[in-house]
């Protein structure tokens, strides 16, 4: 099993969620983060003082998937989150040793 983590542009979240559903992903966990990268920050100006806010708002997704679904999941995110412009974000694939569904106590692929 894999834990797939993705950092994407916030307004792409809905599209990504829909693609993941189509790809057969049954769940995900999402939160807002501040991203730093090539995209560079935003300049905010308060009372004439410029603030180089180097962090930009991004959304972080975590999806646990079986090994078979890992490829399609990455592909689904990649396609749906793509705009072609700098700052589209990254996908990371991390190995997972075990998964547990708290409700039933199921383990491994059954728990996903």
């Amino acid at each position: 099993m894999k834990l797939i983590i993705a950092f994407i542009k916030p307004f792409k979240l809905e599209q990504v969620r829909d693609s993941l559903k189509i790809a057969g992903v049954s769940g995900m966990s999402v939160n807002d983060i501040s991203g730093f990268g090539r995209q560079g920050g935003q300049t905010e100006v308060y009372r004439g003082a410029e603030y180089e806010v180097e962090f930009v708002p991004k959304v972080r997704l975590e999806v646990i998937v079986t090994d078979e679904l890992a490829g399609p999941t990455v592909a689904a995110i990649e396609t749906a989150a793509h705009t072609g412009e700098i700052g589209d974000g990254k996908i990371v694939v991390v190995p997972v040793e075990d998964v547990v569904r708290i409700r039933t106590g199921e383990r491994g692929a059954d728990a996903i």
């Binding site: 916030p10 307004f11 979240l13 809905e14 999402v30 939160n31 807002d32 959304v59």
Partner: protein
Amino acid sequence: MDTGDAAWVLTSSALVLFMTPGLALFYGGMDRTRNVLNMLMMNFWCLLVIPILWVVVGYSLAQSGDGALLGNLDMAFLRGLGITGEDGGSGLLTVAFLGMFAVITPALISGAVADRMKFSAWAIFAPAWLLLVFVPVFKWVYGGWIGDRGALDFAGGTAIHVNAGIAALAAVLVLGRRRGWPSQGHPPHSMPLVMMGTGILWFGWFGFNAGSALAANGQAIQAFMNTFLAAAAAGLSWGFVEKFRDGHFTNLGVASGIVAGLVAITPGAGFVAGMSPIWIGLATGIICCYAVGLKNRAGYDDALDVVGVHFVGGLVGSLAIGLFADPAFFGGEFMAGSFYGGGLDLLGAQALGNAATIVYSFAVTALIMLALKATIGVRVSDDVENSGLDLAEHAEAAYSTGSASLAGH
């Protein structure tokens, strides 16, 4: 009606209307994120249903006629309240002004029942309580047997704060404690909302108290000054009790003290003068700061301290009139307080009035709550209490700020 008096009472009425949203924010800020909207709605509900109830029958039952116990229906549906007659509309204006008080009094109780009461039960409770408790007590105090005994209540210490405060106690005793209380606590979700609510309440309370002179006269001016000083003094003394007892001068302590001081000066605002509001305020801040701890010892779950602030504060203030009332200053015909040569008569009258209010309000409120409990039920399910009332009762969320949480359909 004199235009200056009309201008001031119109202004005061608007100020008192503004207090209910202010109270909603004050309470809502103290609540948890997931129950904020339920708290706001308990207050706004009073703003919707009570104005209509008030003009239809409430005011008439509360003020019309000579009954010692209850008014009559002569002024139901605003009958006879015109603007072209001799009074130039002052009767009508009084209905509006007092209507604002009718709105906020049951709203005060909402802070006690927070986080666990079914909204449908509250929706019935608020108007029922208004008619069965507020209206008769109001009549007794203003134009009924309590007032006749010389008891004083300028802007509603007995009729409003003691009344709503003791009702809050009865309500939570029937309702029961929140799951996890008192072992689990939860800090205010937004202190800036609490402080803003406090500011609005103080601002509006000038209308509440100084408007109760029903004229832009000297009594209004002194009531204004008293409202200014007592709130400051009580905020100060509450803050210092916390500083010395708990180690810090806190915003919530100061806010609570200010509100307690406003409550306490309400009954005497038009009867005391000089440094009296400062003494009343200082005493109230100290007493109420300790009083809010009572619930933990006595075991009733008064979520946002309506009993400790409104009941205790109102009672302290109402009894304080027995000490500080100063008819000479006002050129008024009321009894003097003990410190102003008046013996114990006024104090006795105050005690009697409050005692009667406490007994009646507690009993009838408990009955209303028990009736609701036996019929539609008063508590949300454990599930709803765990996950929050906003979503379950109102299908809304207070905040949807993140992108993640925004991802709707």
